[in-house]
């Protein structure tokens, strides 16, 4: 016990500042302001591996390490689609996973987001479209955010996920005038 506590004290808190949200990951015309205002700042995510090589999963796992600490941002991965606000889908959508992916989506209550993570999910993976793969998540589901990368780094994943929440944040209160501007009355 002493060793454990000593180690915790020694390592300390190493969580880093979260990255800027990446607006370029938003699939325009899908993301609706109303959905985002409902979700607020927190998000529960159900991950579905639709046939990935597992590299994207490793980086999704990394989001929970102390450096990224995604739970500290109010974002959690959940075991049931019924508890989820968003699906994070990886892989080129193998035909063998198509039905399971569809059922998971159908079981996710509205409002819901679909985040396609990785080159395969975005339709640019090396496995392509074949007898075994649909080739992209948007062949089966409407997507709201597309995160590129092979695999996307945890930072890239966070940027994409935070982009989905960006619009839900209220505009900041102005407490002092900005340089060159008249102070607000």
């Amino acid at each position: 016990m002493y060793q454990t506590l000593r180690r915790i004290a020694r390592v300390g808190v190493i969580t880093e500042t979260p990255p800027r949200a990446a607006d370029e990951n938003i699939v325009a015309a899908r993301l609706q302001e109303a959905i985002l205002r409902t979700l607020g700042r927190a998000l529960t995510i159900r991950h579905v591996d639709a046939g990935s090589c597992n590299a994207c999963e490793l980086e999704a796992h990394a989001l929970m390490n102390p450096y990224y600490n995604i739970e500290g941002l109010g974002i959690r991965f959940v075991a049931s689609p019924r508890h989820a606000d968003a699906l994070l889908v990886t892989g080129p959508v193998t035909k063998h996973m198509a039905i399971a992916l569809r059922r998971t989506y159908d079981a996710t209550p509205e409002p819901r987001l679909v985040i396609a993570a990785g080159e395969c999910a975005c339709g640019r993976g090396i496995f392509g479209e074949s007898y075994a793969t649909l080739g992209a998540v948007d062949k089966l589901l409407p997507i709201d955010v597309a995160i590129p990368g092979c695999p996307p780094s945890p930072t890239a994943l966070l940027q994409g996920i935070l982009a989905a929440l960006r619009a839900a944040a209220a505009p900041p209160l102005r407490t002092e005038p900005t340089l060159g501007e008249e102070p607000a009355p």
């Binding site: 060793q3 390592v11 990394a62 390490n65 996973m97 198509a98 399971a100 090396i126 007898y131 075994a132």
Partner: protein, 518 residues
């Protein structure tokens, strides 16, 4: 294996480990496997090929490994109605390999279990993807199959289906439990959900570029697969890589092993209720990945190992910082090991859970890390040390208990050894003999050559069997993940354990789904 007593003539097979090939008749297929078994051989791979364009019907091949190296048996079937002998009574791992061979090529073994294994009703059952006349355009809708799971009858027996979508961030697969209360009576696996048609995809890529696909068969083993593929490609092209490239490849392979073991130890702590372990080990894993990115350009080192060598070299300063980092991680892990070993609650979960005896492991032909935890002392880096492992002298990590605690102990020992190896490799990289180019170009690749690649990935030995076609194409590429040999062992390991221990036991093996399903 000396095949002369069987009346067989074996010829040399191109590979970085000692390897031979022999054409066998139906009867010889069986006797050769029996002989291999008697000589402590293990089945590494079994696959089929469409040879009708060469007027040679179909070919089924199997690779066995023993102390002498790899032996590839090749048996020709005149047509698809011909069957080959079932070797699963000798090598149990062959059962699923034979079923998968039927699903993809349409040639069957004379076996009792003819259930599909990689076919889950997403293409017509009478179509075979790896045949040359298979209509590759993706016009079939995903289907749903009825799979004949074995049921257990009895009072109070319940059936629990799990997956393919699992509770956490993990690959998909189906597990059918038969339980009484919480105790598992039987587990049956159903895999194939991540089948991407990789073997067919290989055939549409240029041979010198298909290493990128090999490196994505199983993303957490990208270095092992890319190296095995490169070995086979280099043997086909008859090219030797620079000395420096071998050292850099080993550096990448050991870093991959290190990163995976760190991640697993954290996850295993978490599965045992010790979240502290997850926080500490995931931090160390992240350190390794960030260093990978800084030094080699990719966190998981994808596309770093290429045919001909390594895609980029290290700067001098990076070699030193890699050396220092390995030292630091080794010291931190020593401390974490003593915390794990002395944590009563964690040890209570780890010890005796998911036990596979050495006797059972031998019968099942287990490979790699899970095999070593059950006393099977095999490791390609030690048994067939190609460069630079011949200069490094790897100490093998072996345990005998075969439970979760043993698979944890093997990981701790291998971390210690891999950090030591990284130190030795970085020292060697600074020495004159390892100076120079890190890559050579491969000239035109001759057609109709077959070569093997064999590398000890972090789970176990990865095999690549590569055949070149005309004009620099891939005629056939068969990757075989060590998970094929170990997945059946989990069905045995969980018997008698409670269902809540299944995630712990499964994670202690941490087998590949994508590497298995292809």
């Amino acid at each position: 294996m000396n095949v002369a007593p069987l009346g067989l003539a074996a010829s040399v097979l191109a590979a970085e480990v000692p390897a031979q090939r022999a054409q066998v008749s139906s009867g010889q297929w069986l006797t050769a496997c029996r002989l291999a078994w008697e000589q402590d051989g293990r089945l590494v791979a079994l696959w089929g090929s469409d040879e009708r364009d060469r007027r040679r019907g179909f070919c089924v091949r199997a690779v066995v490994e023993d102390a002498g190296g790899l032996t590839m048996l090749e048996h020709t079937l005149p047509d698809a109605d011909a069957r080959y002998p079932d070797i699963s009574p000798i090598f149990p791992a062959a059962s699923r390999m034979q079923r998968a061979t039927y699903d993809l090529v349409g040639i069957a073994a004379e076996a009792d279990d003819q259930r599909p294994w990689l076919w889950l009703a997403s293409w017509p059952i009478d179509q075979f993807p790896l045949r040359h006349d298979f209509a590759a355009s993706p016009q079939w809708e995903p289907g749903q199959e009825e799979y004949a799971f074995v049921r257990v009858e009895g009072e109070g027996v319940h059936e629990i289906p799990v997956g393919p979508v699992h509770a956490g961030i993990i690959e998909p697969g189906h597990f059918r439990f038969q339980v009484v209360g919480e105790k598992v009576l039987r587990l049956e696996e159903r895999l194939g959900y991540t089948h991407k048609g990789i073997e067919k995809r290989f055939e549409s890529l240029p041979l010198l570029e298909a290493g990128r696909l090999a490196g994505r068969v199983s993303g957490d083993s990208t270095v092992a697969y890319a190296w095995a593929y490169a070995q086979a490609a280099e043997r086909i092209a008859n090219v030797a890589i620079p000395v420096r490239a071998a050292w850099l490849r080993a550096l990448c392979l050991e870093r991959e092993r290190l990163a995976n073991h760190l991640g697993d130890l954290g996850a295993l702590g978490n599965d045992g209720g010790f979240a502290f372990g997850l926080a500490q080990f995931s931090r160390l894993r992240e350190d390794v990945l960030r260093t990978n990115f800084a030094a080699l350009g990719h966190r998981l080192m994808m596309d770093v190992v290429v045919p001909g060598g390594v895609a980029r070299d290290l700067a001098l300063g990076q070699v030193h910082s890699l050396h220092d980092e390995a030292d630091r991680i080794a010291r931190e892990v020593v401390e974490l090991r003593s915390i794990y070993d002395e944590h009563a609650g964690l040890q209570d979960r780890f010890r005796t859970a998911g036990r596979v005896s050495q006797e059972l492991a031998t019968k099942l032909g287990m490979l790699g890390l899970a095999g070593r935890a059950s006393g099977i002392a095999r490791d390609v880096r030690c048994d067939f040390p190609f460069a630079p492992y011949d200069a490094l002298g790897v100490r093998m990590a072996v345990e005998s208990a075969g439970d979760v605690a043993a698979r944890v102990a093997v990981r701790f020992d291998e971390i210690e050894e891999s950090t030591r190896l990284i130190g030795a490799i970085t020292a060697a990289l600074l020495d004159p003999p390892a100076a120079g180019e890190c890559r050579v170009d491969l000239p035109d690749v001759p057609a109709d050559r077959l070569a093997l690649g064999y590398v000890e990935g972090w789970r176990g030995p990865v095999l690549i069997a590569l055949e070149s076609g005309p004009g620099g194409t891939v005629r056939r590429c068969h990757p075989q993940d060590p998970s094929w040999a170990n997945w059946p062992a989990i069905e045995h390991a969980v018997i008698g354990n409670i269902v809540p221990d299944f995630p712990l036991i499964n994670k202690s093996f941490n087998l590949s789904y994508s590497g298995h399903d292809l």
